[in-house]
């Protein structure tokens, strides 16, 4: 819960500017942008996610490094399980591509 999950914004809902489609290691889920009001990310940006909310914008390199850290900590599977669970596991696209 303490560790953040890195993801890339692949789309933002036209109805709800706080609702972004985010890809994490091939899994796409909706993530909430409501806690980045002051510095709204856009499609293509990388973010750190906590419990379904984007908490900070980061660089692509930092995102890759963070995923690597999760992997080395043995937490990458748990992180992906969390991401798959967003939206009560009903997910938009189980796998991208």
């Amino acid at each position: 819960m303490c560790l953040a999950i890195p993801g890339k914004i692949v789309g933002i809902s036209s109805d709800n500017q706080n609702s972004a489609l985010v890809e994490v290691a091939g899994v796409r889920r909706t993530v909430d942008l409501g806690l980045l009001e002051d510095d709204k990310p856009k499609t293509g940006d990388w973010i750190l996610i906590h419990v379904g909310f984007a908490m900070s914008k980061i660089s692509e390199q930092d995102a890759l490094d963070q995923m690597n850290t999760l992997r080395a900590l043995g937490e990458s599977e748990a992180a992906l399980e969390e991401v798959r669970g967003y939206g009560l596991g009903e997910g938009e696209n189980r796998k991208a591509g």
Binding site: C2, A4, L35, F53, S56, A72, E82, G85
Partner: protein
């Protein structure tokens, strides 16, 4: 040290470790506390202690929200779902944490409607889909998760969704650090500051630790190199007789924190006069309750809460371990009565707890990964 090869710039890790050995004055003993449970996990997982000189001791702090939650609060939360058509929702971390009558998962096996959610907004979504039921979200966490709970509550209020409430166990990190520093048996020299909590609160709230308590604090990332660099920054300060707040994790943590997140927390939460921390006792102004404007969405105001208090067994020495007076294995119960499978004390409960981390990585000694020995 383990996993070195999996990170960028492994040679820089070696150089930084050399710098630590150069800076560590052999006549001194350095006691550094990492506040965050994520750091505790990383320190054991990566075997950082293997490359630190013997006179640098890492003390594991209170930053594991599951560990510091008193058992009585779990009983209180579950009591709400005992009666009436209430769905108990919580993060997965909470599901195996024992209350006096068993964990949420065990209650589920006995028929309670218990569901894992990965985001508070999913509890809200469940409430929208289940108008005949009441959905209670059992909220835990420090400032990393509290803003998400806050924004979820703002949405529930805006929608007028009345079959949703939050049982708030959110705690704040600064009062816990203060309690540790105020403790008469405190023997710390400096702090490794939490990474992701600081993305929300920024670095300013730590300034009193340097100015008033005279202890350096360096906010750090979670990679081995991050933590080693933070230790270098701390040693430089200690050797120069300085105490400042420094930010090693600038690439993620802005000095001012996340204003939107702080605003949401301020809108929804207020400080409780006091709150009990498992292993540490009551700490004043250390936890968040819902403001009166959110009374309708506050489980504690909507339901009768028994207010259960369960004291940890006297033999458990969690408080001493939390303050760095004892190392995990020096507790009388460690590895005997108290194990990750059957936790007696708070710190054995979650993988981020210092006793569980010590048990899993040191006690079991399963280290079979790529080992890099120190270049002493």
């Amino acid at each position: 040290m383990r996993f070195v090869d999996e990170f960028r710039e492994p040679e820089l890790i070696t150089k930084t470790a050399d710098e630590i050995r150069r800076l560590a004055d052999p006549k001194r003993h350095y006691r550094l506390m990492e506040v965050c449970g994520g750091h505790t996990h990383a320190i054991y997982r990566f075997g950082l202690k293997d490359i630190l000189p013997d006179n640098i001791e890492l003390i594991h702090g209170p930053g594991c929200p599951v560990c510091v939650l008193p058992m009585g609060r779990i009983d209180d939360g579950l009591s709400i779902a005992h009666d009436s058509p209430v769905i108990f929702t919580a993060f997965g971390d909470m599901m195996r944490v024992p209350g006096t009558q068993g964990s949420p998962l065990e209650h589920k096996a006995r028929g309670m409607d218990v569901r894992i959610v990965y985001s508070p907004t999913d509890a809200l979504k469940l409430a929208r889909k289940s108008p005949e039921k009441h959905v209670m979200f059992f909220a835990i966490g420090f400032e990393t998760t509290a803003p998400s709970t806050a924004l979820t509550l703002m949405r529930a209020k805006a929608e007028g969704l009345r079959n949703f409430s939050v049982f708030s166990n959110h705690v704040t990190i600064i009062p816990a650090i203060r309690a540790i520093l105020d403790s008469p048996d405190m023997r710390l020299d400096a702090f490794i500051g939490p990474g992701h909590v600081s993305t929300v609160i920024g670095c300013r709230p730590y300034e009193w630790i340097a100015k008033d308590a005279g202890k350096p604090i360096v906010v750090s990332g979670f990679e081995p190199l991050d933590m080693l660099q933070a230790i270098v920054m701390i040693l430089r300060q200690l050797n120069a007789g300085e105490a400042r707040v420094e930010n090693q994790y600038k690439r993620v943590v802005p000095w001012e924190g996340n204003r939107s997140a702080l605003k949401a927390m301020g809108e929804v939460f207020q400080l409780r006069p006091y709150f009990e921390w498992r292993g540490m006792g009551f700490i004043s102004q250390s936890a968040l309750r819902l403001r009166d404007g959110y009374a309708e969405w506050d489980s504690e105001q909507r339901f009768h809460i028994p207010g259960v208090r369960v004291t940890d067994p006297k033999a458990a020495q969690c408080g001493e371990v939390l303050k760095g007076v004892l190392q995990p294995h020096q507790c009388k119960l460690f590895g005997r009565e108290c194990t990750p499978e059957h936790p007696v004390g708070a710190l054995m409960v979650s993988s981020e707890g210092s006793c569980a981390a010590y048990f899993n990585y040191e006690h079991r000694k399963t280290a079979s990964m790529s080992l890099v020995s120190p270049t002493a």
